[in-house]
Structure formats: structure tokens, C-alpha cells
Symmetry: C2
Subunit: 393 residues, 2 copies
């Protein structure tokens, strides 16, 4: 009678959302200080003062100049500011015509996939992976193909990925810095990936697109460089969002970059415009297009997250937890102390530690800790981790 | 190689957009005062001062309280404020649970259709109709069925609509006050419609949903009442936007209302949530959810549009143009002075009158004038209309 697939998607329980809701209730019950909620990726760092200043400024000028429809692809001023910023940082020559503003990274990915996918296509993801990838890939009619990350360091397992490439492969989605693992893909691994994708494009006579999902691009620590993917593999679409770098997750503002070097670049860009239209996006929020035009160069406050990373790593190191040392994003990927990650997370919950079981990301045996929380939460969690660890000795 | 349907949609020329772009260029060439641009529906009335005040207030409080992710369905405070407002105005008992906030009416419609449509479904629209209806209906896999409006007054032709109802009919989309015609559907015609939809639901053993697209609800003139559709046909979803009533078209903020009286209401609501997720909407823009929670009761400035309506009608009356006397929205539907509406619009353009030919809305022989412009533009256009009229005598 209605679309049962959509109903099921709407009713599907989400471990992350449920854990977050449990955390809110539990904090109300026993106090904020006593619940150690590592469940979600809502930035703890506030948006920079320049953002609030740009909003206040917009509130003071004639409303018609701020709130009118913009072109579907975004205002020239915002797109030009973004292109200039990318050109400065990555030595490129992008223009406004390479950019399409979106309502955040989810929209960027959904629109990009819709623009590319044809019947019988396959899209490859690296597991563990952000669970909505499956929803969007399948929604737009392709099959999702999972390639497990390299066991040793959670970089891309390029030889394994090469094995699943075939004449149906339309695209590969990568996410670097990575949610949920925190790894930053190395230049070497990206070069290896580029070679096998280029070879496959030649062998099967049709281009394999790389979709680089980069909401965490600015969150990298210890001086590590996050390689600019389109410089390594030209046939790359970049999907970006300011949710994390400017702490604006609720405002839904991001972009799709379609460089000129992408195969049939102008046709792909037109398909992006068509997909945005077909899905019901009219334009990205106008006020935040204005904010971005002014604040695109604002640095992200990575020091706070870096301190959290050091503090939490120190606690886990001391207690002998096994985890992937993160170079970016704000997640720690920790080995569960028993094979069943859900049983482990349930036991952690008894000590008020809220950790996301790895089956949410398509793999078993791990938990994800989001350290975009206050230092107080991390410091306060040390005893709980100690007791949890002791239970497994 | 890419999705050619999306590419074609992205490359499709739009008469409205092209006319608008032509208008901008022409104004730069010969001066703002000498081009009479009736092409688009961008409100000329500014957002009310309460909106700017709410934005300024938000800029002054801690950013994390403003810009964080909201629940996918919207904040409780915004949804409760909207429910209270509807309850007061229409004597209902809605709660936050009946409301799902969206990125504007386009998103409301795309999501509602995705939630309802199954393979082999049909969706009925009344022609002339907003051209994106076809895009969304077909995108989500249904057939669009057009039923011409009643020739005399452009109300719904209920007997004609009854003829096309069948076991595949999933929904009927209505838009009142109407774009492009400006008509407000009468209570009588809606009651007639409700009866045939209820009969068809019984006859074919499955409910026919009514989707009431209402971005112009508050823009009605001369004391006319816009009937509350769910009170007349219980199986109604309302798709709303503040683009016109609060002059916020670029900010993308609206809602879907799923009343409890809708068939399988909670399942439909879940499917709406699932469809929003699948299409790539995460939440409506958080800052504007806050603005709406504070400003939902702000009256629209209908006096300005009403003055424009009187002024433009007076000019057309004096010159003997035939048109549909509009009760709502901000459009005038004028009979072209020759059978080919494109030839007529081209001739008008020679006199700097920018009118949208009716084939953009699926019918022939008319043009649409958007009177959401300054009074000066309307007053200045009188001579041009006079010369145009004289050419056809």
C-alpha cells in the first residue's frame, strides 16, 4: 500500500541513535558527569567566531539579499571562494563551474551516486564503512560490493579490491580521514589504487569513478598530510561538508567537486545538476552559502581534538587495549575484548561507557569511540575503562 | 557511462530560468526601469523583521546550541510550535509526531512521493501544473496522469478526474492556492473530490492518498478562505514551505504533515522518515528550524501582493485581456492573444514584457505573470501591454 522498503528504512533501529538516546536518558537519571558517551560524531568544538559574525552580519542587511533562491548549483561568490581556497591549498585551477553546492555530505553522496549509477552497476566500499553508503547505493539501483580494509592497518587492501573490479564497476567510495577507523589513506596506497582503477577503466572500456568522501579532510593530526585525491586519480569526484571542519552539522552545507579532468566532466556535472533536481534539492541553504563564502578559509580547531586523541589513547595504552592509532577524524577503533562486539558494548554500558559496536559498520570484533567530547568526559572515563578491562583478565 | 536520464534533466532548458536570465542581462543593458520581468516566483516582499531578529539572536548564543544535528524529523520545539499553530487555526489536535520538517516544499513532495510510490503506481495531477511534479513522480517510479482543470474557472474537474481513477492510482497532487493559475479550490470542489477518492479507495481496495502542496496557503485575498484539506479528506498529506509566506525561498525550510487520520498513519510517517534518509536529507537546516519555532505565527504581508494584484488586474481589464481572476498565490493566468503561447511571449518580449509561456505547465494558449514584483514594475508595464494589445487588433 505504501513503499515498504522506505517504511523498513524508517523503522530500522540504529545502534548509534539508540545509544545516543540511552545516553541522554541515563545522564538525566544519574548526572552528566557519570555517563561517558562516546556514541556520536556531533562536534564538541564550537563553530568559529567568524561564523557567528557572518550570521549576525546577514541578519542586519535587507532580507531579500540574503534569503532569495540561489542558482541550483550555488551562488557564484560561494563557489568562487571555494575554488580559490582549493587552488591555493592544492595547486589546482578549479573555477566555480567545477563546484555544485549541496545540503551537506549526505546530499553530496546521494546526488553523485544518482548522477553516475545505471542499471546493473556495482559500487565498491571499503569495510568497515559508514552505513548510509549502502542505503544510497542501493536506493539508486546499484549493488554494493564490500572490500575489507587491510587487516594490519586498515588502509585500502588494493590487491583485494582489484579482484572485485569488473565490467559492472561504476565507482569506488573512499573516506579519508576515515569514519569509523580514524586512518588517513597514504599517498602510496592511493597511487596503488589509482593504478588498478586506471587499468580496469582501460580493460573494461569504461571509466571507474572514484568518489572521495571528505568531511574530515581538515581533521588530521601530528602534521600528517591528507593527499589531494584528484591529483592522484584524475577521475575523482570530491564530496565535502563543513559539518565537522566548521562544526555546522545541523545546517547542511557542503559541495560536490567535478574537476575538468574527470571523464566527460561537463556531462557528469550536468548529471549532478539533474540528480539534485530529481531528488528534490533546489539549492543549498542561502544564508550558509553566504557564511561559507566568507569563512571557507577559517581553520578548524584541531588542537582540541588532538588533545582528546592523546588523552584517550593514553588511557587505552595504559590499560593495554588494542586499537588503531588514528591520524585523523575524531574516532578511535578499538578491539572488543570478546568476539561478540555487541556483548562487549553491553558490558561497557554497565560501567556507563557508551561505545558503538562495529557491526553498525559492517564488521565484527571492534567498537568505535567518538572523541569529539569534552576532555572531562574522557578523563572521567578512565576508571570505567579500568574496571571493564579487569573483568576480562 | 553515466546516468543519461540525470544528464538530460540537468541539461534540459527551462523557459522560466532562461527568461529570468534574459531579464537580468536586458536590465543591465537598457536599465532596471525599462524591463517588466514577470517571469519568476521569488517573493518581492522581504522576510518579516521577526525573522531577522531570530537570526541575530541565534548568532549571539553558543554555536553548539544552534548548529548541532537535529533529529531527522526536526526539533521538538519547531514541530510543537507548528502543530500548535495549525491546531489554533484549523481546530485540529496535531502533535509533533505528525510533523516531519524538510528542506522546503520540493523536498516535502519528493519525500512524500518516494514514501508512497510502488512499482506500477499512477499519480494524478491537475494541468496546468508545476513542472517538477513530473520529475519527482517519474523519478520515484510512477506514471504521471494529467487531468485538465475545468475550462471555465480552472477548479478541479472532478468528473474528469473520476474517469482516470483505477487500481493503480496511488495519489492525487493538488496545489491550492494554485501555481500557475492563482485559483483557490473551493470547499465544494474539494468535497466532490473527497467523495470520488473515498469511493475509489473502497472500490479498488486500497487507499488513494491526497497530497496537498500548499506553499501559497497564506497568500489569499479578498477575505477568501483556503479550506483545510485534511478536514475534508482525511487521507491527506500536507506539503508545506515557508518560501513564500515568510519570503525564505533560498533557505529551504518546510514540512510534511501526516495526520493520525491518514490510512496507516504511523507506517506512512515511518516511510517518510525512510524516504528522507534514502534521498540524502539528514535534517532540515537547524538555524531555520529555530527561526520557524519562533516565527511560525508571523503573518505574511499579503497587502503588498493584493495591491499588485489589483493594479495588474486593472491594467489588463482596461485593455480587454482575458485572464483568470486570481484569489491566491501571486500569479495571473492570461490568455495569449494567438494560439501559440510561445509566439505570443516572444512578441511580448519585444516590448520588454517577460511572460512565461503556458507549455512550461503542460498546456497551450496562456501565459503566466508573476506579480511578486515592485509596484513600479507593474505601473511601468501598462504602456507595453497597451502596445502589445494594439498589435493584435
Amino acid at each position: 500500500m505504501i513503499n515498504v522498503t522506505m517504511q523498513a528504512l524508517g523503522e530500522e533501529p540504529s545502534a548509534i541513535r539508540e545509544l545516543f538516546a540511552y545516553g541522554l536518558a541515563r545522564k538525566a537519571e544519574i548526572g552528566e558527569d557519570r555517563v561517558f558517551d562516546f556514541s556520536i560524531g556531533n562536534p564538541s568544538v564550537p563553530a568559529p567566531p567568524a561564523v557567528s559574525a557572518a550570521i549576525a552580519e546577514a541578519a542586519a542587511i535587507p532580507p531579500q539579499q540574503v534569503h532569495a533562491y540561489t542558482p541550483a548549483s550555488g551562488t557564484d561568490s560561494a563557489r568562487t571562494a571555494i575554488a580559490d581556497n582549493l587552488n591555493r591549498r592544492f595547486g589546482q585551477e578549479y573555477t566555480a563551474d567545477n563546484l555544485y553546492l549541496t545540503c551537506g555530505a549526505a546530499a553530496s553522496l546521494s546526488i553523485s551516486l544518482k548522477a553516475l549509477i545505471e542499471p546493473d552497476d556495482e559500487v565498491i566500499v571499503i569495510s568497515p564503512f559508514f552505513p548510509e553508503y549502502r542505503v544510497w547505493v542501493e536506493m539508486h539501483g546499484a549493488r554494493l560490493v564490500e572490500v575489507p580494509a587491510r587487516a594490519s592497518d586498515f588502509q585500502i587492501d588494493v590487491p583485494a579490491l582489484k579482484e572485485v573490479l569488473n565490467e559492472h564497476t561504476k565507482a569506488v567510495i573512499i573516506n579519508t580521514p576515515n569514519n569509523p577507523v580514524g586512518v588517513v589513506y597514504s599517498e602510496q596506497v592511493l597511487r596503488d589504487l589509482a593504478r588498478v582503477l586506471a587499468d580496469a577503466s582501460t580493460a573494461y572500456g569504461r571509466p571507474v569513478f572514484l568518489i572521495s568522501d571528505e568531511p574530515y579532510r581538515e581533521l588530521a593530526y601530528g602534521g600528517i598530510t591528507v593527499p589531494w585525491v584528484p591529483s592522484i586519480y584524475p577521475n575523482t569526484l570530491v564530496c565535502y561538508s563543513w559539518s565537522k571542519s566548521l562544526s555546522l552539522p545541523g545546517e547542511r552545507i557542503g559541495y560536490i567537486l567535478v574537476p575538468d579532468a574527470v571523464d566527460s566532466s561537463r556531462q557528469v556535472y550536468a548529471a549532478v545538476c539533474g540528480a539534485g533536481r530529481a531528488l528534490g534539492f533546489v539549492c543549498a541553504p542561502a544564508l550558509f552559502q553566504r557564511v561559507i563564502a566568507q569563512c571557507v578559509g577559517e581553520p578548524a580547531d584541531i588542537e582540541s581534538y588532538d588533545r582528546n586523541r592523546a588523552l584517550l589513547s593514553g588511557i587505552l595504552d595504559e590499560l593495554g587495549f588494542e586499537y588503531i592509532r588514528p591520524d585523523g577524524a575524531f574516532y578511535l577503533w578499538v578491539k572488543a575484548l570478546e568476539p561478540d562486539e555487541n556483548a562487549f558494548a553491553e558490558r561497557a554500558k554497565k560501567h556507563e561507557l557508551l561505545l558503538v559496536p562495529s557491526d553498525s559498520f559492517g564488521v565484527h570484533g571492534w567498537v568505535r569511540l567518538g572523541y569529539c567530547v569534552s576532555e572531562k568526559v574522557i578523563a572521567g572515563s578512565a576508571d570505567a575503562f579500568r574496571v571493564l578491562r579487569a573483568e576480562y583478565r
